[in-house]
Symmetry: C2
């Protein structure tokens, strides 16, 4: 193993719960009443897929104008709720260790700049950190495009690159492109759901992953 | 089966995510940095136990004054975030059906009045609904005291009364007193975690539970 690609929300920054509430309120503005837990388990997939799937579950079919409105509303509600995202415990230390000399790493997220800027800023990333967002690929997760683009920029082979994410969609996207994926519990997805999606290993969060790097093929 | 006792947060009202954020920010005010997912999996236990366990996990031992401050801060932050709680989909219909003629029911929550008043109000409960809060018993969940007090007020035997909750702590508290417990996924706890805690059956939410009442011994 030579490199690691991280998901962002729920994997490095503790933003999942605020995203859930922001989506729920955005849906409500458009007359859709969706339980928070049903939104939570879809965090990590592309925004448009999340909206479609949540709406479908309650028998609604939003128009593309309504989807654009919900998307914008989600973003402004999220910014209101989370002016300063917090890094997950151990995330900054793990990135610093890896980037220092352990292994090249990158971030591949279904989010998009400038919406993710505050999350990236709170991590204090090195200036040359590779960050691939949904604007950099044709399709976001659970399609594998973002991970493949990040891998390309890192200049490593699929087999040399570990994916780390907190959601089922990270693990599915990784597997569809042949990557091994490590799941983290810190986004609120259960161990069973991550293993059933095909996770190679599951750890509590970035700190526990750091302790386990040797087990995963990083010297 | 003659009666049902419901948990409140995450079982009838969609408040878990806001409680998580309110607790996280309250902890932060007292210098404790706790990941949201680690708070989420403790929602449903008594507030003091939740604080102790979250603090212990990061090696902190808050004083009783600090605990009182965090508790108050959590409550005011929750009220700010959630001025109008929303019922979980299907919750009002289920309560109306049961209370109409199907089975007597009550609510037993680790929360306390007046903090829970807005959640109770949004459900449009019948005036004679039995609601047992943490002020009505010596210990909150995962101790079984609240369920036992609610059962006493309902006037039924433990074996005639089903507990319905969304958290591991509901299921553990029920089992400690010999009740059967049904788990609901709508608070964000996984099916596996609920079954491993000893749930008799697990359903998605109040609506799915309503469809399954016949399977559970309610005519």
């Amino acid at each position: 193993m030579k490199a690691i690609i991280f998901d962002l929300d729920g994997t490095l920054v503790d933003t999942v719960h605020c995203h859930v509430i922001a989506w729920q309120r955005a849906f409500c503005e458009f007359g859709l009443s969706v339980d928070a837990a049903n939104i939570h388990r879809r965090i990590g997939m592309s925004g448009s897929l999340l909206m479609q799937q949540c709406a479908r579950e309650i028998g609604a079919v939003p128009s593309s104008d309504e989807m654009a409105g919900m998307d914008a509303s989600h973003q402004s509600l999220f910014d209101l709720l989370t002016p300063e995202p917090r890094p997950l415990n151990g995330a900054k230390e793990l990135i610093a260790l890896l980037h220092g000399d352990k292994a090249p790493c990158g971030i591949a997220t279904s989010g998009e700049r400038p919406a993710i800027d505050s999350s990236l800023a709170c991590l204090g990333l090195p200036a040359d950190m590779i960050v691939v967002d949904s604007g950099d690929a044709k399709e976001a997760k659970p399609e594998p495009d973002l991970f493949l683009e990040c891998r390309r920029r890192l200049g490593v082979a699929v087999a040399e690159c570990l994916i780390v994410g907190d959601s089922v969609w990270d693990v599915l996207a990784a597997r569809r492109a042949g990557f091994l994926a490590v799941g983290l519990l810190c986004g609120g997805t259960s161990e069973d759901d991550l293993y059933r999606a095909g996770a190679f290993r599951v750890y509590g969060g970035p700190g526990q992953l750091q302790s386990a790097l040797g087990e995963l093929g990083f010297k």
